[in-house]
């Protein structure tokens, strides 16, 4: 890969090179990437274009790539790693229309062309695979890989309903080396022409990346289309900050390969645990809070069951996360007469994930909060409560989430003196 010199803007964005006064937005770092194995359409056409140009230009020869360039120009190939929506925030199915999955913005729209002649990678059904995903800089996040259902017709626009309802492969924060994420997975038991649809949702930003990899599965079992039965209703036991769940097993004609536990969270429920067994413990919860969980089973072919009946459970009072298992950095990068901007970073210094985080602090006298980003912030009875957005509501051990707000102030804005994360006091970083 010709990546040697292509990191300057990324490096500048990280504030490593050319630090001047415009680089004060520390903490905003860069991503950009796309699936390189199995190759996404943009990456495959980029490589095809390189091969067809003899160097210095991109002149693809694959008919679908040629058509895409005629429609959308060469820039999407030069920028093959930039197929993204910056404010996706996990709402992929809400903001991307059917037919636009492979190129959800105007720039990449040509990669939605419903054609059978895109560059195709042949894969063995059910085999192990080492996924590779280019990235310019490490970022926390989750990758979900979906596959199209049996009977999918690649000559028709790709719709959400063409995908199996649950990803056959998911990973959070895979290892990064040499500018590339890679991780091992197991391919679904499919046969023939399909699309592997990958979504990378960053957890430190609402930005999400999308890629379609055209594949041809060989050696499949003829396509298992039978979904597992729904798991039984879970039972739950709660502490102040965790819930242990167990449920009767689902059944399947080829065997259940695993379960995903979801927490109900309004329009977009949140996957909180995956397991091959029939128990799971969800940690990092808020004390004295009601939660609903349900379970979905899946098989090796990627078929998923109907959801189980949800179980409602309330965490006990008191307790919360271990005191001192979090650290908060609060800064005021700018202020003016009557107002200020504050940036807040919350680090999980504990050993377990914090789910659905809420940060509470006493609002200093004379201050108010007018506008927040990357979190919902409400003030009541002199206390501010910040809740993570849908895309950053969980904090993995060692991970930091950041948010900010504009506030009003009488005089010089004073800093809050203490913070509590899900009921546990935090250390000042």
């Amino acid at each position: 890969m010709r990546l040697k010199r292509f990191g300057a803007l990324a490096v500048a964005a990280l504030g490593i090179v050319g630090v001047t006064s415009v680089f004060v937005q520390s903490g905003v770092a860069v991503a950009h990437g796309s699936m390189t194995y199995p190759p996404s359409r943009t990456y495959a056409c980029y490589e095809d274009g390189r091969a067809g140009s003899g160097g210095g230009d991109l002149n693809p020869t694959n008919p679908a790539c040629v058509a895409a360039v005629q429609l959308g120009g060469k820039q999407p190939l030069w920028d093959w790693y930039g197929n993204l929506i910056s404010q996706a925030a996990g709402k992929h199915r809400e903001i991307i229309a059917d037919g636009d999955l492979c190129g959800p913005t105007t720039k990449y729209d040509a990669y939605n062309l419903a054609r059978s002649d895109w560059p195709v990678t042949t894969l063995r059904a059910g085999a192990s695979i080492n996924f590779k995903y280019n990235a310019w800089a490490p970022h926390p996040g989750r990758w979900d890989q979906y596959v199209t259902r049996d009977g999918f017709d690649v000559t028709q626009p790709l719709k959400w309903s063409d995908l199996e309802p649950a990803p056959f492969d998911s990973i959070t924060n895979p290892p990064l080396g040499s500018g590339e994420y890679s991780w091992n997975g197991t391919l679904p038991n499919k046969s023939g022409r399909h699309i592997i649809y990958s979504i990378w949702q960053r957890s430190d930003s609402p930005e999400a990346f999308y890629s379609c990899s055209d594949v041809n599965f060989t050696g499949g079992g003829g396509g298992d289309t039978q979904a597992p039965t729904a798991p039984g209703t879970p039972t739950a036991t709660a502490t102040a900050d965790s819930v242990s769940l167990s449920w009767p097993a689902a059944s399947d004609n080829t065997g259940v390969s695993g379960y995903t536990v979801y927490r109900e969270a309004g329009a977009t429920d949140v996957s909180v645990a995956t397991t091959s067994g029939t128990t799971a413990t969800v940690t990092g919860l808020s004390a004295d809070t009601a939660y609903q969980f349900y379970v979905v089973a899946r098989d090796a072919a990627g078929n998923t069951s109907s959801p189980s009946i949800a179980v409602s459970v309330r965490t006990s009072t008191g307790g919360g996360t271990t005191p001192g298992a979090c650290a908060v950095t609060y800064s005021v990068p700018s202020s003016w007469s009557g107002g200020f901007t504050a940036n807040v970073s919350v680090k999980n210094t504990g050993s377990s994930a914090v789910s659905a985080w809420q940060l509470v602090w006493d609002v200093p006298s004379g201050q108010g909060i007018t506008q927040a980003w990357s979190a919902e912030v409400a003030v009541a009875a002199g206390k501010a409560t910040a809740k993570g957005a849908s895309w950053n509501q969980n904090i993995q051990p060692g991970q930091t989430v950041s948010f900010g707000f504009n506030g009003t102030s009488q005089g010089t804005p004073a800093n809050p003196t203490s913070f509590a994360l899900n009921g546990a006091s935090c250390a000042a970083a």
Partner: protein, 181 residues
């Protein structure tokens, strides 16, 4: 308020929301976006100062521009482009350095608004905008002082960070917090 926003932009790229009242005056708009750069060579020099790359600025024709962005976006961008060039600045093997005809920026923005209203394009311009110019790549560019040009209204509850009025009514230059696209 606008003057103060301009000063803030010049001094630091913060996340203070400035006036969002759009104007249609050629004296405002992109003039608040930092140093005015009127040639691709000047843009290339500016990128080189920031990144240590963009060593070789290659002047390009408008035919090459159309080949670069494709016919649809060429129809929307090209009538308002004065000249353009490319250079290599990581991660971009081919980064477009696009200088606009400054007096036509209001027309450019209104044309884009019309294209969105008519369903011709689904989203806002995809370049990163500076004072009279734009870069075709947007990775990390707000950290270089560039802005997204937005000609869609702000939705309820939508986060809007640093905001400056653009040249056409209904368009703004924005830098969203934590946003590098």
């Amino acid at each position: 308020m606008l003057g103060r926003c301009a000063a803030l932009v010049a001094l630091l790229v913060g996340s203070v929301a400035c006036s969002s009242a759009a104007t249609d005056s050629p004296g405002l708009g992109s003039n608040a976006l930092g140093p005015p750069l009127g040639t691709p060579a000047a843009v290339g020099e500016w990128v080189r100062e920031k990144t240590g790359q963009c060593d070789e600025v290659v002047p390009r024709t408008m035919e090459e521009f159309a080949e670069f962005v494709g016919p649809l976006r060429a129809r929307l961008y090209a009538p308002y482009v004065a000249e353009w060039a490319t250079c290599e600045a990581g991660p971009y093997q081919r980064l477009g350095l696009v200088v606009f005809q400054r007096e036509k920026l209001p027309d450019f923005q209104r044309a884009w608004q019309g294209a969105m209203a008519g369903g011709e394009v689904s989203d806002n311009p995809d370049f990163g905008f500076g004072n009279g110019f734009a870069l075709s790549g947007t990775l990390g560019l707000e950290l270089l002082g560039l802005h997204e040009l937005r000609c869609t209204p702000v939705g309820p509850g939508e986060e809007v960070g640093h905001t400056l009025p653009a040249e056409a009514e209904g368009c703004t230059y924005v830098q969203k917090p934590g946003h590098h696209h």
